[in-house]
């Protein structure tokens, strides 16, 4: 091959390289602009429903007697809230929901902590099968279980009885918490426990004094999720509670939707109050929740 053709080849190569770099730069800028645009759209779409809920709650349709929705107003009032408290036992619903959520959370996380420790740390026959079984139960459909639950509680005259609902909620919060905590226990180094046991601690002592304090953030995440699941639950509460005084927020609020336009102010006011505890919880504990989400995968 002649020197000239080698040089020509090199020049062609160099120009191709430059061209490729330029294409890549344009591509990069293009992708980036597209990404930002997309993010902006998604942010607006994510924010709009909560915003619209809030504006409807504080400027309810009954205030303007208009069928044009209010997108912005400085004329805010608490009338929808007052009307909601006046016409419906909203505070009773909130108390019921809080009772059911707190009790099922405490109970399930306690039981689940022991089980998760056992499944992640102790060796015995059938451990991995039992582990899979727990996971399986967590994803078991409530549509399959609510009918037998309904029949049994009906025959025992326990419909409309909140402790029965708490027990029913354990069907998902126990397996779920076990599964979440198991992943968490696996991430705690085993050496610390071994050291405690070498120093003469009993199994109970090493669990209570070494493992539990280390697992505290994981236990907190399990509590937040168990609480959220119970706070949100609809199907069981809807089928197992019939008495308005016993409703949870989920069932109480949905009973209102089959009314007319002017009820939406009250419904949104109820929605604001139902969301507030969870939103506060989420934004205070956001770091832990993100960690929990990445450790496993939670209700989507």
């Amino acid at each position: 091959m002649s020197t000239a053709s080698v040089l020509a080849d090199r020049a062609r190569q160099a120009s191709a390289d430059r061209w490729r770099v330029r294409v890549q730069r344009v591509q990069h800028v293009g992708f980036r602009a597209f990404g930002w645009l997309l993010l902006a759209i998604v942010l607006v779409v994510a924010l709009f429903p909560p915003y619209f809920m809030t504006i409807t709650a504080f400027h309810p349709p009954s205030l303007s007697f208009s069928r044009t929705p209010t997108l912005f107003s400085t004329d805010l009032s608490l009338r929808a809230f007052a009307e909601l408290f006046d016409k419906y036992p909203y505070l009773q619903w909130m108390a019921n929901t809080a009772l059911v959520s707190v009790c099922s959370t405490i109970f399930s996380v306690t039981v689940a902590t022991l089980a998760a420790y056992s499944l992640s740390r102790l060796r015995y026959r059938g451990r991995s099968t039992l582990s899979s079984a727990v996971f399986f139960v967590y994803l078991f459909p409530s549509t399959l279980l609510f009918i037998p639950m309904f029949i049994v509680l009906n025959s025992l005259h326990m419909l409309n009885w909140l402790p029965a609902l708490i027990a029913v909620y354990l069907t998902f919060s126990v397996p779920f918490s076990v599964w979440l905590l198991k992943a968490y226990f696996l991430s705690i180094p085993r050496e610390l426990e071994d050291a405690a046991q070498v120093d003469g601690a009993t199994r109970w002592q090493s669990l209570a004094l070494v493992v539990l304090p280390l697992a505290a953030p994981g236990i907190a995440v399990a509590c937040i999720y168990a609480f959220t699941l119970a706070w949100n639950e609809y199907l069981y509460a809807f089928t197992l509670l019939g008495d308005q005084e016993k409703f949870t927020l989920a069932t109480g609020l949905t009973k209102l939707i089959f009314g007319d336009v002017f009820l939406w102010g009250m419904i949104m006011a109820g929605g604001v109050m139902m969301s507030a505890p969870l939103l506060i919880l989420y934004f205070v504990a956001q770091r832990y929740i993100v960690a929990g989400l990445s450790a496993g995968a939670i209700k989507g």
Partner: protein, 313 residues
Amino acid sequence: MALRVGARRSALPQVWGRQGTLARDEAAFGYLLLLPAALLILVLVGVPFLNALWLSFHKKLLGATDAPWIGLQNYATLIADLVFWQAVKNTFVFTVGSIGSKLVIGLLIALVLNEALPMRGLWRSIVMLPYAMPTLVSVLVWKWMYNDVAGVLNYLATTAHVADHQILWLGDPSIAMPAVIAVNVWRGFPFFVITILAGLQTVPQELYDAAKVDGAGVWARFAQVTLPGILPVLAVTTLFSAILTFNDFSIIWILTQGGPGNATNVLATLTYKIAIPGLELGKGVAVSVLMLPILVLMIVFLNRFISRREELA
């Protein structure tokens, strides 16, 4: 293979023999700690599950005291019923449509948020907002926005001249399904964003640098470095969300109650409709039992994926 299994089995008792009491002690402690949870699950899930299977073979009506055995008749009537097949189709459309959209949106937003953006923490918090709101409240807000008389979506669509008449978001059979999917996607996409974002952070930076040196462009780097790196996360997240979407009752029930006609009737809402307003408890349960094979298949896959990841970790 068989040899190795055999070898392990014969090796086990020796090890246990040497530290027999310790192992036995550990096992006893393990079973003891597991006992409360196991009992609860057995009583609260195991018994109702067997009861559900039993019911599906009986003609149990709401309010009736007797429940005669009818064999497979509940299943036979369902399989001959077009409404059932419509619900099967709807369940798949709802699940696949929701999961597909959540996956695409979740992946794109996660990729954007993984870049060095100003105020990234704030954007991430806002993206989390739909996930932090109670599902039920989100569904109610969307129902209000979809309202055909005074809803904000119709107002925006007509004032922006996108539509010249009011759209029956939840009342038009061809729009209702996309409308309920949109609510599910709105609520569920942050879950995809957060898990995918966590997955992206585990992809080593050196791989990107190496790909850049090799002259790989944005697209090539995504397809050959990012995608293989986050594939396990994508699989787990997608399966997980698919299972929960497949089972979902409340979003569709509150928005449309399965209507108009049966346009959004999925297996979960069909179960309820047959069992409670329809009074046929046994037949209602049979619908849910028929969901089990696919559900079990998905759970088995997911469980295998997750335990493999745990072994690697």
